[in-house]
């Protein structure tokens, strides 16, 4: 499969790369890894977001951007968003040291085509570039599973039954028996203020506006059972 891509790619024109990283060492490392890949040309490097935007505006078109998500003058996620506004076609690969799903998710949401953890192998880098040029989303293998799960969670926001705490359950049960906040506070050795906080939290959790509705909803869900 990789070979096939390789063959297809070789017939194409050179793939022009822009590396955005404030760390010259990183740029240097990437350059070293890619120096004998014939169809990849490092067309430019930028150490700041500002320089990158200027390069994209003034210089010949770029195919793939390798972009550090920690830049001195701008957050990589924001830069990704900005570039996407003006350059619909350019492929963006985020580079990060960290394997944090939330950040990766955000980056993808803002229009990145993939992301790599910086301690990648040469092969992985080339593979990632090929993948995004192919129009496929590339995710670093280290975080693949985790990110995909989180992305799923993001797509289907909490249709699930809220989990209630033990304390909330106790309070619900006492409310169901018709006790007032005062009585509940007395029974559970809590302040009335705390009981009210729990009650308000429950209303918020089940998106209802009064205690009656709360009791109805929670009973339907079977949360009042012991």
């Amino acid at each position: 499969m990789a070979i096939c891509v390789y063959l297809v790619a070789s017939q194409q024109a050179m793939i022009k790369l822009l590396i955005i990283d404030d760390h010259p060492l990183v740029t240097d490392g990437i350059r070293t890894m890619l120096k004998d890949v014939a169809y990849l040309e490092i067309a430019g490097t930028a150490r700041t977001a500002k320089a990158a935007i200027a390069f994209l505006r003034d210089c010949p078109p770029i195919d793939v951007i390798l972009m550090d998500i920690n830049l001195p003058d701008m957050d990589g996620i924001r830069l990704c968003e900005l570039i996407r506004d003006t350059h619909k076609e350019v492929k963006i690969l985020g580079l990060t040291y960290i394997n944090e799903a939330a950040i990766i998710t955000q980056l993808i949401k803002k229009g990145a085509n993939g992301y790599l953890i910086k301690d990648m192998e040469r092969e992985e880098l080339i593979h990632a570039i090929d993948q995004v040029m192919d129009g496929t989303l590339y995710l670093s293998k280290a975080a693949n599973e985790k990110v995909l799960r989180q992305l799923r969670e993001h797509d289907i926001p909490g249709k699930t039954i809220p989990v209630i705490t033990r304390r909330e359950k106790e309070i619900l049960q006492l409310l169901y028996k018709g006790h007032t906040s005062q009585e509940i506070a007395g029974q559970l050795y809590l302040s009335v203020y705390t009981v009210d906080t729990h009650r308000r939290n429950l209303l918020q959790k089940f998106n209802v506006h009064n205690t009656q509705a709360l009791l109805h909803v929670t009973r339907e869900m079977g949360l009042l059972d012991a």
Binding site: V26, T32, Y97, K146, V163, T165, R166, Q204
Partner: protein
């Protein structure tokens, strides 16, 4: 401006030798006759001196010259006999006589002498009387502050002697002085208080003087209706009193009332009655004033001929009396007279003289101002004393039946007082309670402020700490992390260039070590400051955090957030992240739980956080363990956020930690 036609007389309130014997003229004349019979005996002894003195005293009211003659004789006789009491009394009466004749220096020397003798014989009554006399002496010379002081002293001294009637006289004099300094309100107030005392004693003389003073002051205050009410009883007393002085003053007051009512004819009629009564007294001062008043009334009627007649007499008598006030009034009336004649030059002359005299009296006023202030203060004290006197009199003068009523009233008063004092006490107590509460509140406020101060400083410390952590984490990532990454990249390129290197075990080992070093570095940096927390906020960071924990598969943490769409401010978010980190680490370390819930509920600026596990729980009472559980740092951080922390743990059921916060509107 019309001149004030009225005047007031305090000076001639002579004190009674024996209180309350002046019942009527008959008894009076009888007394005089028997005394004169005693004088026919030529024997020169102390009893003769006593008779002379008594005689002079009785005659003094209507024949000053004759009285003066008797007094001189008594004085000479007492001196001859070395009779101290006689000397004292005769000197005292001589002083009075000279004063009414306007000879103040002589009056003063006799008074000083009298005082010396009274002190020697310890006659407390006359020591007080001398003070009263000094008051008169000051009064006659328009030194009203001095007069007020001496009258006050006299009243006090009489009070000490429990001599109610004499102290009444001193009070009346004080009232007169207060009127002179135009403190009519106070004068009326005192007058109204002493009137019932005098009435209860059925003492016509005192009632008369009090009524007269009261009426005059009320006229001055233009409270004409109240003044009018005083007139009938005053006229009744004036008609039957043997005291020509009182009668004269009373008529003069009635006349003044009519003068102000612009009933000049009636005013003249009464002034003339006053004048005729005053003529027997040989008091130039009073006569001058009466003539001047009559003149003013004639001026009111535009009867300039009669006005002139009385003015001449007034000015002449005022000069003889050596009284500045009388002269002043006469001059002013003269000025008005000439104004009516259109002789402005002369009018101006008299006005000028009036003003000169006024200035000289004002000088005296200023001089004695300090004394006046002092006497004013004493006056206040006196008012209280009068109230006490009233009570004493009430008890003394009424029969048992009446007394019972008074006792009833007093009992009622006492009861009221008790109720009031109880109420006051309750009020005081509740106020005390309130002040204690306020003090506590203040303390709480101070404590709160201190805590806030502490929170601010600790927050800035922690913020500094977090900033530092962020910086170090970043340096680790960018610097060291970058280096590691680059090393790996180079190795990767090397392997590509040098064939068979991936089979070299040393190369592989080196690659693995570089890998794990990079991994370690990232973990450290992450713990220092999660990138996601800085970049995406608390909720995302917590999701990430839970993701990491859940990946371990020992504990499943479910995160629930409600109302957390808005960021809370980075320092608060970092603090809350650290708290959750600590709590979850505790669960992992100590609780042996399989499930945990992290729940955030935000409503407006209210945030409540619950962290609950199903672990083995712990005993809250074991503080040592509590600390061991790492709760201390959580407690600290919660208090830095001004939050409330509650922990509930049940054995083998689990632990619930609840944090309630009020977020600052950033």
């Amino acid at each position: 401006m019309p001149t004030l036609p009225h005047f007031r007389l305090a000076a001639v309130l002579t004190l009674l030798l024996t209180a309350g014997i002046r019942q009527g003229r008959c008894q009076y004349e009888h007394e005089i006759d028997s005394l004169q019979r005693l004088l026919t005996r030529p024997k020169e002894d102390t009893s003769r001196a006593g008779v002379l003195i008594r005689l002079a005293y009785y005659i003094g009211d209507y024949d000053v010259r004759k009285a003066l003659q008797y007094e001189k004789e008594a004085y000479a006789l007492s001196r001859k006999l070395g009779y101290a009491s006689g000397l004292a009394r005769s000197a005292y009466q001589l002083s009075q006589a000279y004063m009414s004749m306007g000879n103040y220096p002589l009056s003063d020397s006799f008074l000083t002498e009298a005082e010396r003798y009274f002190v020697r014989v310890h006659d407390k009554f006359y020591m007080a009387a001398v003070e009263n006399e000094r008051g008169d002496w000051c009064f006659m010379q328009s030194n009203y502050w001095g007069a007020a002081e001496h009258y006050t002293n006299a009243a006090e001294a009489f009070d000490r002697n429990k001599d109610t009637i004499s102290s009444l006289i001193a009070y009346q004099n004080l009232v007169a002085v207060l009127a002179e300094v135009e403190d009519f309100e106070k004068a009326v107030a005192i007058g109204k208080k002493i009137l019932p005392v005098a009435q209860r004693r059925k003492d016509t003389l005192q009632i008369g003087y009090t009524l007269q003073g009261l009426a005059t002051d009320l006229i001055d205050l233009k409270r004409m209706r109240e003044a009018e009410a005083c007139l009938p009883p005053l006229l009744a007393i004036a008609g039957r009193t043997p005291d020509n002085n009182l009668a004269s003053d009373a008529y003069s007051t009635v006349a003044t009332y009519y003068y102000y009512r612009k009933d000049y004819a009636a005013a003249i009629a009464y002034y003339k009655k006053a004048l005729s009564k005053a003529e027997t007294l040989q008091s130039q001062f009073q006569l001058a004033n009466h003539h001047k008043s009559i003149a003013s009334a004639y001026l009111g009627l535009n009867d300039l001929v009669n006005a002139r007649k009385h003015l001449e007499k007034a000015l002449d008598l005022a000069g003889k009396a050596n009284n500045k006030k009388a002269q002043m009034n006469a001059n002013l009336s003269y000025s008005e007279y000439f104004e009516k004649l259109h002789d402005y030059r002369k009018a101006d002359q008299y006005l000028h003289r009036h003003l000169e005299l006024k200035d000289s009296t004002s000088d005296a006023r200023t001089r004695n101002y300090a004394q006046y202030l002092e006497s004013r203060y004493e006056t206040e004290k006196k008012e209280k004393e009068i109230l006490r006197l009233q009570a004493v009199e009430a008890e003394k003068d009424f029969g048992i039946r009446r007394r019972n009523i008074y006792i009833g009233v007093a009992a009622g008063l006492v009861l009221t007082l008790i109720v009031i004092s109880l109420l006051l006490r309750r009020n005081y107590r509740s106020r005390q309670r309130l002040s204690v509460q306020q003090a506590r509140l203040r303390e709480e406020k101070i404590a709160n402020m201190e805590r806030q101060q502490q929170v601010v400083s600790l927050q800035s410390m922690i913020n500094g700490q977090e900033t530092e952590r962020t910086r170090i984490a970043r340096d680790l990532h960018d610097g060291l992390g970058g280096l590691f990454s680059t090393v790996k990249m180079h190795f990767s390129a090397l392997r590509h260039e040098v064939g068979g290197l991936q089979d070299n075990s040393l190369y592989k080992k080196t690659m693995d070590m570089v890998d794990s070093a990079g991994e370690e570095l990232r973990k450290i940096a992450h713990n220092m400051m999660p990138e996601v927390l800085m970049k995406l906020g608390l909720v995302e960071a917590l999701k990430d955090f839970c993701g990491h924990i859940n990946a371990g598969r020992l504990l499943h943490v479910s995160l629930q957030t409600y109302g957390m769409e808005e960021p809370l401010g980075s320092s608060t978010e970092v603090m809350l992240y650290r708290i959750i980190q600590e709590l979850v680490n505790n669960i992992i370390k100590h609780a042996a739980a399989t499930e945990a819930i992290i729940q955030f509920n935000r409503q407006g600026n209210r945030l409540s956080i619950t962290v609950e596990d199903n672990g083995r729980g712990f005993d809250l009472r074991q503080a040592e363990e509590n600390r061991h559980m790492g709760m201390e740092t959580v407690k600290d951080r919660v208090s830095y956020l001004n939050g409330h922390l509650s922990i509930e743990s049940r054995k083998d059921v689990g632990t619930t930690v609840m944090i309630q916060l009020l977020l600052n509107e950033a």
